[in-house]
Symmetry: C2
Subunit: 406 residues, 2 copies
């Protein structure tokens, strides 16, 4: 056992404190809307951002602040994306200034993020009023408060943490994240903040993050819309006291492994809590000619509206899965494809050599009645594999998005 799951979320790593509260961005006073996360020491930092050409003002400011690979804190609000606002950049700067004043840090120490409606005026009054309160409330047990404050249409907060060992030193990595619509990450993702106490340089930290997201967050699909405000960031305090990680070391492999574990955990939680979702879909592709094709096929399947609605209907309509495999970009054979539908209730082979295989519809229905479904695809044309995560498409997705602003 190289690592174990522990409580503490984004504060599990040494040096981090967090808080979150309702500060007045939202009308609903029971929904916290600003989160603050602060490290006791300077951190190496890295982030990946949305590839949307329309970017929220906070994205640009964060890119500027992380240019030197260092940061000490995170400021994130929900309820307003601060995107397509003519004075968005000035607002983001004011928010960092206010946060700096409240915490005794410098404005450029902050990663800043906003999530919510696009193109709505954002007042800085809630920040002015709220930040001193948030700074005073910072604590090691504050992860859940922060995780709650960054949510939009999510139904539950997402926080995870793992403990592992590097060179005899106990290390930690923690994360909070939010979904749950406008999610089809492209070289970046929704909002996920990671912290660790591992000692690692910012270049290697960025390399690890960039490599990781190809296998986790970029393989997550809820509704095909790539947000204007997506970001995954990681802060490394170095307080675990390990020898700084070298790229060629076994320690780097261990760190990558734990990073992957927590990111997959977060992907699964984000997918399961996708807007309106009743089921988590996990698609594994084996036997692919390349890892990229395996990942692409898996993501195409979990992205298909027709596969998503069939899973909602608990209907073993495997032809739709074959159809989605068939329109996946890339050159690979489809004539040997097999498909197994699997859940905690069992598994059933529904297609072999890309053709119908008799199966019990009753058994399939029992399997598909579960909350977590696995679609196991074997292309039988190679040795590579890949995974993607998504959710079913339901009446509630339409309901939530048919009138999001009111």
């Amino acid at each position: 056992m190289k690592y174990k799951k522990i409580p503490g979320g984004i504060c599990a790593a040494e040096g981090f404190m967090a808080s979150g509260a309702h500060c007045g961005i939202r009308n609903n006073t029971s929904k916290p809307d600003i989160a603050l996360i602060v490290s006791s020491v300077a951190c190496h930092a890295a982030a990946v951002y949305t590839q949307n050409k329309v970017k929220g003002a906070p994205i640009h400011l964060t890119q500027k602040h992380l240019a030197d690979g260092k940061a000490k804190a995170i400021l994130c609000n929900s309820g307003n994306a601060n995107t397509c606002n003519p004075d968005g950049p000035a607002i983001a700067q004011t928010c960092c200034n206010l946060a700096a004043e409240a915490t005794g840090l410098r404005p450029e120490d902050f990663i800043i993020a906003s999530t919510g409606v696009i193109g709505q005026p954002l007042s800085t009054a809630p920040f002015e009023k709220g930040l001193p309160k948030l700074a005073a409330a910072l604590r090691r047990e504050g992860s859940t408060d922060a995780a709650d404050a960054i949510l939009t249409t999510d139904t539950k907060h997402k926080e995870f943490a793992y403990e592992f060992s590097l060179g005899g030193k106990t290390c930690h990595i923690g994360a909070i994240g939010k979904g749950s619509g406008m999610i089809n990450p492209n070289m970046a993702t929704m909002l996920v903040f990671l912290t660790t106490d591992v000692a690692i340089g910012s270049d290697l930290l960025e390399q690890a993050l960039q490599a990781e997201i190809l296998h986790s967050f970029n393989q997550l699909y809820i509704d095909g819309d790539t947000s204007t405000n997506d970001m995954v960031s990681i802060l490394a305090s170095g307080l675990a006291g390990n020898q700084p990680i070298e790229e060629t070391s076994g320690e780097y492999q261990t760190f990558r492994e734990v990073l992957h574990t927590i990111c997959v955990k977060m992907c699964r939680a984000l997918a399961a809590d996708g807007e309106g979702a009743t089921k988590l879909l996990e698609c594994h592709v084996n036997g692919a000619p390349s890892g990229e094709i395996a990942r692409r096929v898996a993501k195409t399947v979990v992205s298909s509206d027709l596969c998503k609605t069939a899973m909602f209907g608990e209907d073993a309509n495997w032809g739709r899965v074959l159809c989605a495999i068939g329109y996946t970009e890339g050159d690979f054979p489809v004539d040997k494809v097999s498909l197994i539908l699997k859940s905690s209730a069992g598994e059933v082979l529904v297609c072999e050599n890309a053709t119908h295989r008799p199966f019990s519809e009753e058994e399939a229905s029992r399997i598909l009645a579960e909350d977590e479904l696995q679609l196991l695809i074997d292309l039988q044309s190679g040795t590579e594999s890949g995974t993607a995560w998504g959710c079913d498409l339901t009446y509630d997705y339409v309901k939530i998005n048919g009138d999001y602003r009111t």
Copy 2:
């Protein structure tokens, strides 16, 4: 007035007869399931096909039959796609043989198409029983019967025809088509059959069709799933008696123009009757640096689940449109984008220079309450334009597809 809309659908052009009836592929005896369309003379023919790697058996057989650019008839069934069936190719061949026998034509004279559930066994008994009946029922007034027989989840049949003049000769072009889910054509489309009595060689006919679909059927989006059985075909009987059309002539331009008109008409009808749709969305993009970028932006907007649900909710959530423009593939500026929402109830400018512009929510709601909505985008970065068609995403889409097979 270069052309006018006329009745007659796929039989409006000289030489064509059609029929359609329930033959037993479907259990529901009130839903016709096989259509037959026959020309009295040999036709030049062209078709474009789905780019899905998983292709229905009828697609392969039609490609073979059209290799010489000639055909005389169309056989199309609904209720079963004859796709992912181990004996699919043999079944498609048997169906052509039976149709040839019933009509006195040769099997290779047929364009054959199937649409419906993928991966279900298909019996040839309904063809054996039904084709003599269909052949006997062929008539000039048969377009609606055929148009009804090819439908799956469509709520209404689609047939259109236009009359125009070439070199003093009266010419016609007609079409029937079906949607209404699994529609995201890629260099091809759902099932649309076109007929004309124009004299035109098969190479030029194919060139005209290939060029046309870039601006019509490939710009249509219902749910992102590219079908395994998509096809658009055109038969030209030559019975109008015009001088065969040359590529460099004004007649070719006229033919292209009428072809475009009927294809756009069909796209609008297919989009308006998309699965579960309550509204037709038409997105026009102006001021683009290239036609391709204009078309791509328009299609991305009508493809966005969040734009589609907002239109269903009659919510002027323009930030979602900006978001979709922003993740459109390609390099173009987004900082000068403007957006007008328009319908028969009026129009409202909701965004200028990619930022919020105060508007009356009440007025916007009144505009969005209509059945046909236009999203007018100006990128203000060029002179090119493009259009795409789609529909809203509704509860009924989820309902229809949550349990399609039962």
